[in-house]
């Protein structure tokens, strides 16, 4: 049952989110953590429409993208805490960086919006190699402002590159609301300028996001070019954990998620099974965190390794 698989992914992501939240609240954190609470459903929904060998450029809200793509929570938490056993071995670029070439997870830029042009290049490789792979690029409504989107979209559309752009519109570009950032209510409208489909979808409904993504992926794989999907979602926490959001009037400083994707999915899953998956997810997250916290940091000798081949 597909909904059951999707529920499993969303509850696994949620369990990690909440555990990281409580851990940081209790112990603090060196670095940036950008919570993805409330956005897990769209991340899991979109990724579930990809093939295992499809490429992924994730955004910086949480670990959901990569967990849904098949990376292990131990690896991801090890990256979050800068451990040697993380996929980038403590060398990431300022927010959580992780990579998994075998699963097509190609990383992200420390400067958001760089994935637009890099992702287009991956699409060119797929065209040249005829490897039938699609590249999914996640980004936020704030990042949608980058000129790199225009530069990539313009040529990707003309060259019909196999790309899917997934905008997580949570309504806030750090402290500035979307109404002050966009002349139109929907970012998806911008697709019209590039002659590609622009699709608005309810980001709290994982099944709806999966369906929209599956259609875009099929179009990309058929050589018909990119699609821009805008998933309307919510930002529950601050831009980073510790951001008090004094600029925001609608904020509730808690962990409640209105229109919770987990609750929406739960309606399609037998309660007993959902309870079991919730418990498994919590146990998996706890065990992963315990394992990672006991891990050593990187060996000092690696600091200059990996600069050149």
């Amino acid at each position: 049952m597909e909904e059951l698989d999707l529920y499993r992914e969303v509850t696994r992501i949620r369990a990690l989110e909440l555990l990281i939240h409580h851990h940081i609240e209790e112990h603090g954190f060196d670095g940036f953590w950008h919570p993805g609470l409330g956005q897990e459903g769209l991340q899991a929904g979109a990724v579930s429409a990809l093939r295992e060998d499809d490429y992924l450029f994730y955004a910086h809200r949480g670990l959901g993208y990569a967990l849904a793509k098949g990376m292990s929570p131990v690896t991801l938490l090890a990256d979050l805490f800068g451990k040697a056993a993380g996929s980038v071995g403590g060398k990431g670029g300022g927010t959580v960086h992780f990579v998994d070439p075998e699963r097509g997870v190609l990383g992200q830029g420390g400067t958001v919006g760089s994935s637009f042009v890099l992702g287009a290049g991956v699409g060119i490789s797929s065209q040249l190699l005829g490897d039938d792979r699609v590249t999914a690029i996640f980004f936020g409504d704030g990042t949608a402002a980058r000129g790199t989107f225009h530069e990539a979209a313009l040529t990707a559309s003309v060259w019909k590159l196999p790309l899917v752009w997934i905008c997580e519109n949570n309504g806030w570009a750090i402290s500035v609301p979307i109404a002050e950032q966009s002349p139109t209510a929907d970012i998806a409208e911008r697709a019209a300028a590039y002659g590609v489909p622009g699709v608005v979808v309810d980001g709290q409904d994982p099944v709806a996001v999966r369906e929209a993504t599956a259609e875009a992926v099929a179009r990309a794989r058929a050589g018909e070019g990119p699609t821009l999907i805008e998933a309307k979602t919510l930002r529950i926490r601050g831009h980073f954990e510790g951001d008090k959001q004094a600029y925001r009037e609608d904020v509730v400083d808690g962990l409640e998620v209105p229109r919770d994707p987990l609750a929406i999915l739960r309606e399609t899953v037998p309660a007993e099974q959902a309870d079991r998956l919730d418990a498994e997810a919590r146990a998996e997250a706890r065990a992963a965190l315990d394992e990672v916290l006991a891990m050593p940091g990187p060996d000092p000798k690696v600091v200059t390794e990996g600069v050149w081949i």
Binding site: H97, F116, V117, G121, V122, I124, S125, L128, W159, I309
Partner: protein, 333 residues
């Protein structure tokens, strides 16, 4: 060179680059190109002429006027199994794509735990051309030395243009390849052996001499050799070394020379302040202190922008006369 190698033929620097591109695209079908006007037009300086017809529009791609796309897409393609050779029309435009060049190209491998590589070449027409002004004339190669992860090549002869570009394409690291615009039409012997590569990190000893080590790059190599010829007539032996690549930098050859001559002059077209010459001079100072008979001197462009007037332009960069005067003074110290 083995006796079986074909005899070198006389070729222009631009044609030598074209031959390198054609040979590497022929050898490895993962190699492809993108840039503004590199296709039908063959590049604003004609370097890619004929390649669009020969290899097709999928492998020789004309882009829009978008430097961040040109460099960023090349990085993405390099991450995913192909080997892009990107051309920017002028090296100066690398600054438009600063994030892509100095962050993505240079750092993607490191910040992803060396799990990925970025095998690509960014071709950058560089230097003064006579009348093209402040934003189309700069020599920016030192920037590549300041962002670990990049390699930097700057050929001064047609043979090196071909051999270094072939090495750059085969190198698994990202390479900034500075071609001097003023040298595109210069001619010299170039081998048509498709396996004759010029290795990175091996300086070329252009001329031997006992009295002064003259380290020169790009356009300045020719001026340095002319000065060495003039001084030889007066019994002054000038050893001319062309590093050819700044990353990696062959300090061994430079240090061995300075230990012999006891004097060093470093000359480049780039701005003298904080240029590559400052780094080379500092390293000579660190390594050769007890062999030096005089301070290490540098010549480079004045602390000014490049003016449009071709006459004023030449006042900004080191002339043969200035190099000669500095060399004579340094030898007399």
């Amino acid at each position: 060179m083995s006796s079986a190698a074909p005899a070198p033929t006389e070729l222009g620097y631009g044609r030598a680059l074209n031959a390198a591109l054609a040979e590497e695209m022929e050898r490895d079908e993962r190699v492809w190109m993108l840039g503004q006007d590199v296709g039908r037009m063959g590049g604003v300086f004609g370097v890619t002429r004929g390649l669009h017809e020969r290899f097709g529009a999928a492998r020789v791609r004309d882009t829009t006027l978008n430097e961040t796309f040109i460099v960023g897409a090349a990085v993405g393609a390099a991450l995913s199994g192909t080997i892009p050779v990107a051309e920017l029309q002028f090296a100066d435009f690398a600054l438009i794509a600063g994030d892509e060049v100095f962050h993505k190209m240079a750092k993607w491998r490191y910040m992803h735990g060396a799990r990925l590589s970025v095998p690509m070449v960014l071709r950058l027409p560089s230097g003064v051309l006579g009348g093209v002004g402040a934003e189309h004339s700069q020599s920016l190669e030192v920037l590549g030395m300041h962002f670990p992860g990049l390699k930097v090549a700057l050929p001064a002869t047609p043979a090196d243009a071909k051999g270094l570009l072939k090495t750059a394409i085969r190198d698994p690291n990202p390479v900034l390849f500075f071609e001097h615009k003023g040298l595109y039409r210069s001619k010299g012997p170039v081998s048509d052996d498709p396996e004759l590569l010029v290795p990175f990190g091996e300086a070329a000893m252009r001329r031997e001499g006992a009295d002064l080590t003259l380290v020169a790059t790009g356009l300045m190599v020719g001026r340095a050799l002319a000065v060495a010829e003039t001084l030889a007539a007066d019994g002054i032996g000038v050893e001319v070394i062309d590093p050819r690549t700044l990353v990696p930098l062959d300090m061994e050859t430079i240090v061995a020379s300075v230990e012999k001559t006891g004097r060093a002059l470093v000359v480049h077209e780039a701005v003298r302040t904080a240029g590559a010459g400052a780094e080379i001079a500092a390293r000579i100072g660190e390594s050769c202190f007890f062999s030096l008979e005089a301070p290490v001197w540098r010549l480079g462009a004045l602390d000014t922008s490049i003016p449009q007037s071709a006459e004023l332009e030449q006042l900004v960069i080191p002339s043969a006369a200035e190099i000669e005067a500095a060399a004579r003074e340094l030898v007399a110290l």
